[in-house]
Amino acid sequence: MSVTAEPYATAAGLVERSAAAYVSGVPEHPADDGFFGPASVTWKISGDLAGPIAGLRSLLMQALHPLAMAGVDQHSGWREDPVGRLAATSAYVTTVSFGERAAAERAAARVRRIHTRVSGVDPVTGRRYEASDPALLLWVHAALVESALAVRRLFGPAIGPADADRYVAEMVVAAELVGVPAARVPASVAELDRYLESVRPELRRTPAASESMAYLLDPPGLDAEVAEIWQDIRYGAVVALPEWAREMYGYEAPPLTAGRREEIRQVLGVLDAVFLGEPGVLEARQRIAARMRAARA
C-alpha cells in the first residue's frame, strides 16, 4: 500500500508555527494595498474563522490530482516536516493575500524558482510531471479558490453570488503570480465550475494521497485540546467536499445539520482564540481590521 517507507514527523507545533507564518505575512507599514486590498472580497473571505477548514478541504482536493500529489510527496520535505511545509504554504498564501505587491512578487518568485527544480515521474500513472507546469498550478489554484467558496457556503456567513464571482475574479492574479497565464484562469464561479468538471477525469486517489490525507485528518502529536478541535475541522472539511471526492477517498460524513454547523463555528471560535494567544497574531489581525474598517468609510 505504502509507496515510500518514509515515516511522517509529528504535527506538534502546528498552531504555533501556523501563527508565526500568518504574522510573517501581514505587513506592519505596507507601502501599498497589495494585489487585493482592504475592500476586496478576498480579504473578507481570508479573515473568516472557517479558514482552517477551507485550508484542509483545499488540500484534500489538491491531493486528488496524481501529479500534484506526487510532486509534493517526492520533493517538498513533506514527510520529514509536514508542519513546516504547511506553515510555509500558510505564510505564502498570507503574503500574497495581505502583503504589499513587492512582497507578494518576491514570495511568488521564490515559489517559481523552487518549482523549476521539482519534476519526476508519478509512480501510479507513470506520467512525467513538472511543478512549473501551468496545468498543475492551475489545478492547485482552482482547488483553493473553490474550497474557500464551498466552506464559506457551508460554515461562513453567507456571501452573495456577485461577491463569489468577484472573489474568483480577484484571485486570478494569484494564479498569474505562480506562472499561470491569466487567460487560462477561471474568472467567475461558472468558469470555475466548468474548469473543475473538465479536470475530473484526471483525478484519483493514489496511495500517496491516501497516506498524506490520513495524516492530515488525524495528525499525531497535537496538543490534546487542539486534537479535539481537529476532529471538528476534519469533519467540516470532509462534509464540504463534493460527493464524488468523498467517494474517491471512501470517507463518510453524516450530513451537516444547523445545530452541528453552529457547534463547529463555536469550536472554530475556540481555536481562533488559541491562535490569537500566539505572539503577534492579535496585532496582525488588528492591522488588517483597521485597514478594512477604514476602507469601508
Binding site: L49, P157, D223, A224, E225, E228, E262, E263, R265, Q266, V267, L268, G269, V270, D272, A273, V274, L276, G277, V281, L282, R285, Q286, A289, A290, R293, A294, R296
Partner: protein, 484 residues
C-alpha cells in the same frame, strides 16, 4: 501544554480557596505600625470632614474630569455594525472572555500560555463606533443620545466587558456614566453558553474531586445574569441604598429612567485609579484596603450579597479611605441557609476553637465529604491557611506573595485532604472573588488588625469599633437603623 484544562484548573482553584488570606510579615514593621497609629488620628478627621463632599464639583467639572481617565481605545478598530460585534465576540469568544475574566483574578495556577490567550482575548475587543453606540442608546432609550441627554460624549471613557462606558450630562443636570452594551452580544453569548458539551471540554478538570458540571452551571448562570443590565442596576441599587451615608463606602446611584436591558446609567464618579495608589502614602493605602475589606464582609453578612468583581478598574479612590465601588454586574446573592455554614466555619475555627464543629460545618456546606477518612487535625492543617488573617487578633500585613502560596495550597494534589474536598456550587463565585480580593489587598501591602475588623462585622461577635473608620461606621449604622 494543555491550555483549556489549565484554564479550568485556574477557575476551580480560585474557587476552592476558602477565604484566602495573605500574610507575610506578621505584626508588620514596628515603625510602620507607629506611623499608622499617628495617622489614624488624621484619618478620623478626614472621615468626619467627608460629609457632602461626594460630588463636590459641578456636573460639568465632573464630566470633564472623568474623561481624563479615558482609556486608550483603538478607534480605528471600532466595531461599526452588529456583524462586527458577532465576528469579534461571537462563536465562543465572548464566553471565553468572560471565563477568562473570572480566571484572571488568580495570579497563580494559570500557565503563561493560558494567561496570554485569555488576556489577549480581552485586549482583542475594540470599542463600538460612536454611531453604533448611539444606535443602541436610541433603541433602548427611545431617542439618539444627544436628545436623550443634555450632553453626550461620543468617545467612550472606558471599556466594559460586553459594552463600554460613555459620560453624559442628563437633562436635569447630573453628570452620569452610561454603560452601553454591544448589540447582539447577549444573544450570541447566551447561544454559545448553550453548547454545554464544548464548555465542559474546555473546563475539564484534572482533579477528580471537582465537579465540572456544578462549576459550569454556576458560571453559566452568572454570565447569563451579566447580560441583562437591569439585574446589574438592581444590584447596584441594593448596595447604594444600604451604603447611603456610609463614611467611606460610596456607591453611585442608578438613574432609573435611563436604565434598561442594554443601557445602565449611574451617577458619574471620579477619583484615583488603583494603579495610582502606588504613589500614595502607606497610611492612605491601608485605609483604602480597610474600606474594601469592610465593604466585602459587611455586604456578605448584612446584605447577603457579594460583589463578585474585584477587578482593579472597579474602584475609584478619594483619599481618607473613601472608595467608590463601580460595576455590580457580577453579584452573587446568598440565602441565609447558604451563608450559615460559612459563618459557622469561621466561628468554630477562629472564635470557639472547636475543630470538630468546624469540620461538621465544612461537611454541611459541602466542602468536605462526610465520609472522608481523615483526622480532624489533617483537615484543620489543610484549611486553616485560608483563615490566617483572622485567627489571631494582631496587626498583619497582606502581601501578594502569600496569595500565590494559598493558591498553590489549593492545587496541592499531594495533600490527602484534596481528594475529599470540593467546591459546592453556591460558593464558586464567592471563593474565586475572595482570592481576587486578597490579591488586591496584597498589592496594597496593607496592614491592619483584620481579625479585630472581622469581629466588628461577624454577626456572631458584633464587636465594638476598633479603628477610627470602625467608629465612623458604627455611628453610621446607629443612624441608619437595621440593615435591609
Amino acid at each position: 501544554m494543555n491550555r483549556w484544562r489549565l484554564v479550568a484548573g485556574g477557575v476551580a482553584g480560585a474557587a476552592g480557596a476558602a477565604a484566602a488570606v495573605v500574610v507575610l510579615r506578621r505584626g508588620g514593621n514596628p515603625r510602620l505600625r507607629q506611623n499608622l497609629r499617628l495617622r489614624r488620628g488624621v484619618a478620623a478627621l478626614l472621615l468626619v470632614a467627608r460629609g457632602g463632599a461626594r460630588y463636590a464639583g459641578s456636573a460639568h467639572k465632573l464630566f470633564a474630569a472623568a474623561g481624563e481617565h479615558r482609556q486608550r481605545l483603538r478607534n480605528d478598530l471600532a466595531l461599526q455594525t452588529a456583524e462586527d460585534v458577532a465576528t469579534t465576540l461571537g462563536t465562543m469568544k465572548g464566553v471565553l472572555m468572560k471565563l477568562g475574566q473570572m480566571a484572571s483574578y488568580v495570579d497563580d495556577g494559570l500557565s503563561p500560555g493560558v494567561r496570554r490567550t485569555l488576556s489577549r482575548l480581552q485586549d482583542s475587543v475594540p470599542p463600538m463606533s460612536a454611531e453604533l453606540a448611539a444606535q443602541v442608546v436610541a433603541e433602548e432609550l427611545g431617542g439618539p443620545p444627544d436628545q436623550v441627554f443634555a450632553r453626550w460624549d461620543p468617545d467612550p471613557i472606558a471599556a466594559a466587558s460586553i459594552g463600554q462606558v460613555h459620560r453624559a450630562i442628563t437633562r436635569d443636570g447630573r453628570a452620569v456614566a452610561v454603560k452601553v452594551q454591544y448589540p447582539g452580544i447577549a444573544e450570541t453569548i447566551a447561544a454559545d453558553l448553550g453548547n454545554v458539551a464544548l464548555l465542559r471540554r474546555m473546563l475539564r478538570i484534572t482533579a477528580p474531586s471537582q465537579d465540572v458540571d456544578a462549576l459550569l452551571a454556576e458560571l453559566r448562570e452568572r454570565v447569563l445574569e451579566e447580560l441583562d443590565y437591569r439585574r446589574e442596576a438592581d444590584n447596584q441599587r441594593l448596595f447604594a441604598r444600604y451604603y447611603a451615608g456610609h463614611p467611606t463606602i460610596l456607591v453611585p446611584a442608578i438613574v432609573d429612567e435611563l436604565s434598561t436591558r442594554r443601557v445602565v446609567t449611574s451617577e458619574l464618579a471620579d477619583g484615583a485609579r488603583f494603579a495610582e495608589l502606588a504613589g500614595w502614602s502607606q497610611a492612605e493605602r491601608d485605609l483604602a484596603a480597610e474600606t474594601i475589606y469592610r465593604f466585602v464582609f459587611r455586604s456578605l453578612y448584612e446584605l447577603h450579597a457579594f460583589n463578585g468583581d474585584p477587578h482593579p478598574g472597579n474602584y475609584l479612590f478619594h483619599g481618607g479611605g473613601r472608595v467608590t465601588f463601580l460595576d455590580f454586574g457580577l453579584v452573587r446573592r446568598f440565602t441565609a441557609d447558604e451563608l450559615e455554614p460559612l459563618m459557622q466555619m469561621a466561628r468554630y475555627l477562629c472564635v470557639e476553637h472547636d475543630p470538630e464543629e468546624f469540620r461538621r460545618n465544612l461537611v454541611k456546606a459541602g466542602f468536605l465529604r462526610a465520609d472522608a477518612p481523615l483526622s480532624t487535625d489533617q483537615v484543620i492543617e489543610h484549611m486553616a491557611v485560608f483563615y490566617d488573617t483572622v485567627r489571631e487578633s494582631r496587626p498583619l500585613t497582606m502581601t501578594g506573595d502569600y496569595s500565590s502560596a494559598v493558591v498553590r495550597r489549593f492545587f496541592d494534589m499531594r495533600s490527602p485532604v484534596t481528594t475529599y474536598a470540593q467546591i459546592p456550587r453556591s460558593y464558586v463565585i464567592l471563593q474565586r472573588i475572595n482570592l481576587g480580593l486578597f490579591g488586591l489587598l496584597g498589592e496594597l501591602i496593607a496592614t491592619a488588625n483584620w481579625r479585630a475588623i472581622a469581629e466588628e462585622i461577624w454577626p456572631f461577635v458584633l464587636g465594638p469599633p476598633t479603628t477610627p473608620m470602625g467608629e465612623a461606621e458604627a455611628a453610621w449604622r446607629k443612624a441608619r437603623g437595621p440593615a435591609r
